[in-house]
């Protein structure tokens, strides 16, 4: 435990040196926080008091805004439209929505199920939490920031539990995390390039396209593998690709004790880089990190998913500090999600001790595939934004948005169901075995 702590502290100290790496994309620029003091309807100007400063600034309402959009004496986040001129408001978001009981309950439940998934397959939660929070009325940037800040303590608790069960490979986690942070950097550069050349719609299309391709392809393969194993395949069998990768003897060779593999750093580095690139692009690096560790490096599903939690912890902590520096974390949301997810993550971690390896793969694959449907439903809209296809009819757009959201809910619900059933069945079986053993040994 002491060793684990020292290693984590060491990494945390080194991390700030990689100054420009953000997990989950960089915090937005051109954003101001503060309170509107007054608004002049005819001149379309407002007096704005920025947080932490004494004086006020005069801001001009953007073209698409009406004076009614300005809420006086309420803490807001103002996005500026630099193209339209200095101090022109693009949009205004209320930073801290009023938390009603229904919203609190929703956050607790989403947290619990997200945590369960996270503890079981090493990733998850984030892909549904951010859209769910936005549906509840949280501004996008705040949703991402608060989510990130909840992710790393949750991953820490999950990683600790699974380390105690002897499943997490700290060394593999650290190697992957460090390379993933570099991958995030590359991912951001690609994103920036696309944003500059093809605009916001192009960027959205790119993200969704990558999301779809990766999830369908990888998810499909994991599902096929899980199916084969459930039909009585050899549990301990390592994939052919991993065996071939382990044949590569280019130094430095690294031995991973828990994962029981010895592999060249030149194999783990690309896996880590892709994880990071994907984390920067689609915000769920785990969906490539875990299959990467299983099929390319040759770790078992249980070790790979446990190790992913270490990666999530390191990257999440780094991301949280970045978002915290820009002051966008709504700690109330973070802690409310944590209330449920800390229970869920421990339950999920416990669950892995009762199930066979293919169960983890099955949950992972089904989640990935349903999430892919969710993202796929958004593609027609983005294509229309780029004028590549005819504009989507409002009715269809509404249906697609509903499909997208409910697919996420379905992904969570089905995963939670599979995990619970597998876990309770495993527990009942373990209890029966213990009883039989008791009868045999004591007559």
């Amino acid at each position: 435990m002491k060793k684990l702590f020292l290693i984590i502290m060491g990494v945390m100290l080194i991390l700030p040196m990689v100054t420009s790496a953000f997990a989950g994309g960089p915090p937005p620029k051109d954003v101001m926080k503060g309170v509107f003091i007054s608004v002049d309807d005819t001149a379309r100007t407002t007096e704005f008091k920025k947080s932490g400063s004494e004086g006020t600034t005069q801001l001009v309402l953007g073209e698409s805004m009406v004076p009614a959009d300005i809420r006086i004496n309420k803490k807001v986040m103002v996005s500026l439209d630099k193209h339209a001129g200095e101090n022109v408001i693009k949009s205004v978001d209320i930073m801290f929505m009023d938390l009603k009981v229904s919203k609190i309950v929703a956050l607790l439940i989403i947290g619990l199920i997200g945590g369960l998934l996270s503890g079981f397959i090493g990733s998850g939660g984030a892909f549904v939490l951010t859209p769910a929070m936005m549906t509840l009325g949280v501004p996008g940037a705040i949703a991402v920031a608060s989510n990130m800040c909840h992710k790393f303590p949750k991953a820490m608790v999950g990683a600790y539990k699974r380390y105690k069960y002897g499943q997490a490979d700290i060394k593999l986690g650290l190697v992957m995390a460090v390379t993933a942070i570099i991958g995030v950097q590359i991912g951001i550069q690609i994103q920036k390039y696309i944003l500059n050349h093809f605009g916001n719609a192009g960027s959205n299309l790119y993200v969704s396209f990558v999301f779809m391709v990766v999830l369908v392809f990888v998810g499909g393969y994991v599902l096929y593998d899980a199916y084969k194993l459930s039909k009585g395949g050899d549990e301990t069998k390592t994939s052919k690709l991993a065996l071939r990768m382990q044949q590569i003897k280019i130094p430095p060779m690294i031995h991973f004790k828990v994962a029981k593999i010895t592999i060249s750093a030149w194999v783990t580095i690309p896996v880590g880089l892709f994880t990071g690139m994907l984390a920067a692009t689609i915000a769920v690096g785990g969906f490539i990190g875990v299959p990467g560790m299983i099929y390319v490096c040759g770790a078992s599903a249980v070790v790979a998913s446990a190790t992913e939690l270490i990666i999530a912890f390191i990257m999440g902590a780094w991301g949280s500090i970045q978002w915290g520096l820009s002051g966008l974390i709504d700690i109330r949301l973070t802690l409310l999600i944590l209330a449920g997810s800390l229970i869920g993550v421990q339950l999920g971690a416990l669950g892995t001790t009762y199930v066979k390896d293919y169960m983890i793969k099955l949950v992972m694959a089904s989640t990935m595939l349903i999430v892919a449907v969710s993202r796929g439903a958004k593609i027609p809209g983005y294509l229309a934004d780029l004028n590549l296809v005819a504009p989507v009819k409002p009715q269809l757009a509404h249906t697609l948005a509903q499909v997208s959201f409910w697919a996420l809910v379905a992904a969570l619900a089905s995963a939670a169901l599979i995990i619970s059933v597998a876990m309770f069945r495993g527990m009942a079986q373990a209890k029966m075995e213990a009883q039989t053993e008791h009868i045999v040994s004591h007559g």
């Binding site: 926080k33 947080s51 932490g52 803490k75 930073m95 801290f96 938390l99 800040c149 909840h150 790393f152 303590p153 949750k154 820490m156 608790v157 539990k161 069960y165 002897g166 902590a317 949280s320 500090i321 978002w323 915290g324 520096l325 820009s326 002051g327 966008l328 974390i329 709504d330 700690i331 109330r332 973070t334 802690l335 944590l338 209330a339 800390l342 229970i343 421990q346 339950l347 971690a349 416990l350 001790t353 009762y354 495993g426 527990m427 373990a430």
Partner: protein, 121 residues
């Protein structure tokens, strides 16, 4: 009664070895006995293991009062935690502290509910 005799016998043997200058053997003999006495305590059957009620109550109360404090001081928290800069430490550290407290509560609660990991032999 039998254990009493055994223990007496063992002590006498240990004393004899000690008198003869064989301190290591004497200590070993006494150690064995200690282990024999301690063993049942070290590995109790799961049914009789004490459940961490105190832990759950203490951590649960701490966690609950933390949440209560947060909800009653929303205005202050909203201002101080979002200043940016070094204030980034506020939300990050708070999240970690809450995780320890609430995580410990959740862990104890699951144990009390009888949901425990399978012992992998």
């Amino acid at each position: 009664m039998k254990t009493g005799v055994n223990s007496f016998d063992r002590h006498m043997t240990a004393a004899a070895f000690a008198e003869a200058g064989e301190f290591d053997t004497a200590t070993e003999l006494l150690q064995e006995q200690k282990d024999a006495v301690k063993k049942p305590k070290k590995a109790p059957s799961p049914a009789t293991r004490k459940k961490p009620y105190t832990g759950m109550i203490i951590f649960g109360a701490l966690s609950l009062s933390g949440y209560a404090a947060l909800m009653t001081h929303q205005g202050w928290v909203g201002e101080e935690f979002t200043m940016g800069g070094w204030h980034a430490a506020y939300p990050v550290v708070t999240a970690v502290i809450f995780s320890f407290i609430h995580g410990a509560f959740a862990s104890n609660m699951l144990t009390i509910l009888g949901i425990e990991p399978k012992n992998k032999k």
